[in-house]
Symmetry: C3
């Protein structure tokens, strides 16, 4: 399975052009959209989101992951293998948390270049063809690098920031709930929030945090929008009161 | 065909995770996105939308329909069969209008539970596997219930409210046009609107209502946005002047 | 390959209903979403966008292209063939630039009508079945017309206006970069913008224009939103300072 993760937006032409490439080069491989609205131009926040959501997918999945504000510049292009899952995308930290949490990892730099490479859309011209060939069982030219190539050792294991606001206004943090004390409270938007199991366990309009279905600590309001009620946005800091 | 109807939003990770489940369990069944932006957390408004749009699909379709603010709580999980179409989703009234308008219906409660069931994402963990197996010809464990199980007898046959604002700003009501007198006027947003056949039959900028391509009374402005021009939003009341 | 281009929006029911038709009539033909958010009700701006993005697709592609504010009125329904690519949609100028830039073109008027034709959704009822049959190798009833049928000779070769704002806030113009002097500056939003190769070639927060991956002149801000920073929107005029 090819899994798409990008900040390209849900409607415009970018995801579709990548899918046209995948369709041409790996027509038999199913494609699933995971995120088309990862934090825009923010590989650091996106890295925590990707690590939480990729873990749910089967080991043979190939992730085409493009949050790439440095496109066309000097950054390398990577294939990362982590616990069997393979990731294709830019070398800007996007795979840092996936790598850190894996038992086994390998990293290679993509040395293949397409005949026509635009300066601004490597998702379509470089990463999609490489991901398609990997998923179809072929290989693109890539050179193995040392395990530390492209690592971001200074990023924290869990990020006490909001990394995503979903369609309901729920605020996903970069914190794994399992890394927090069971009784921890989260301070966000000037409020101190207790933990609950799920929405219907609290009163309508009440704010809380809970472990979401992919293991992240998520701030929500039952039958309301947490982003509006608490003034939350991507990059907003969280304090853990444990 | 598997038809997706949810309030999960067009971009985030929820629809994609459901599709990954469908792909794994029913790889040969085509999947179509109907609504990813049904009225958020509002099974009542969504029920009128679903009934209007589901009727257009062929009888063998399986609808995976998730507008589920009570997820993780006490509400049951249903398989509803109505005129041959099957619907999988929560027992919160979402299928009330589909059932009421069908000649033949059956209802069963899903008793199967997956090995891992999150508290907040039954769309992925419970409803998607059940819908996939139904569409692939297998069955999930479900127990037939009495015809009245989960019914919402007190909801009206047609809902004189706005149930959806589309991408153009058109306001779809929960009223079937066929249930209205041909000369009916609709009062909405402080305006009295006459019926027209379609957009190009009225002047640019003129507000009107018409029977949309799925039979609902819809309020629109030719070459403009009705939501902005008339101050309309989901839940807004309509008065019928017949 | 069937390529979808519309102003239907990314989430609502319109694209999905068209795809259900394509699935039924051409189940073996892959479908790619190009734009679901082409300029709403604006076939002129959309025509420049379509011509720039269609050229990237292989010659055997069939484009189902629906920006159709005159639906249900007197406008004809067309099949246009341009350099081997086929386009199905309304006769309102949407294919003008595709036709003008092609070496070989043919145009036919769709005379087939479905048993049930709504007044407001020809994308689903008329254009999708015709496009599906074309892509599957069959033909719909259509009558060849003179080469000038439906042309908009008075539209410019390049449009000095903004025709699309993407998910990042970048502003795509209707100008082909190759049609501009290499040293041209663009005046937009009261600013005079120099050309750059790509985002990372300018400082963070700096506005510039560049040739995007589909050949259009595009106005952007490195690590920022050009639409907000420069006050840009669809239809905004551009001046070329060459």
């Amino acid at each position: 399975m090819l899994v798409l993760f990008s900040d390209f937006g849900p409607a415009g032409p970018y995801v579709g052009q990548m899918k046209a490439v995948l369709q041409r080069l790996a027509p038999a491989v199913p494609v699933v959209d995971l995120f088309a609205d990862a934090p825009a131009r923010d590989p650091r926040a996106a890295a925590y989101l990707l690590a939480a959501y990729a873990a749910w997918f089967p080991a043979e999945s190939v992730f085409l992951a493009v949050v790439d504000p440095g496109v066309g510049g000097a950054r390398a292009a990577l294939i990362v293998e982590a616990d069997g899952r393979r990731y294709v995308g830019p070398d800007n930290g996007l795979f840092e948390l996936v790598r850190r949490r894996a038992r086994t990892t390998k990293v290679a730099e993509i040395t293949w270049r397409p005949p026509a490479l635009s300066a601004s859309f490597h998702g379509r011209d470089l990463f999609a063809p490489v991901a398609a060939r990997l998923a179809a069982g072929a290989a693109s030219a890539a050179e193995e690098r040392a395990p530390d190539f492209g690592r971001r050792r200074d990023w924290p294991d869990d990020l006490a920031e909001i990394v995503y606001i979903d369609h309901y206004g729920n605020a996903l943090t970069g914190l794994r709930a399992a890394a927090l004390p069971a009784s921890a409270r989260l301070l966000a938007g000037g409020r101190c929030l207790a933990r609950a199991r799920t929405f219907s366990d609290v009163a309508a309009g009440e704010a809380f945090w809970y472990e979401n279905a992919n293991g992240l600590a998520e701030i929500a309001v039952n039958l309301g929008r947490a982003d509006a009620a608490l003034g939350l946005g991507i990059g907003g800091k969280i304090t853990i009161d444990s």
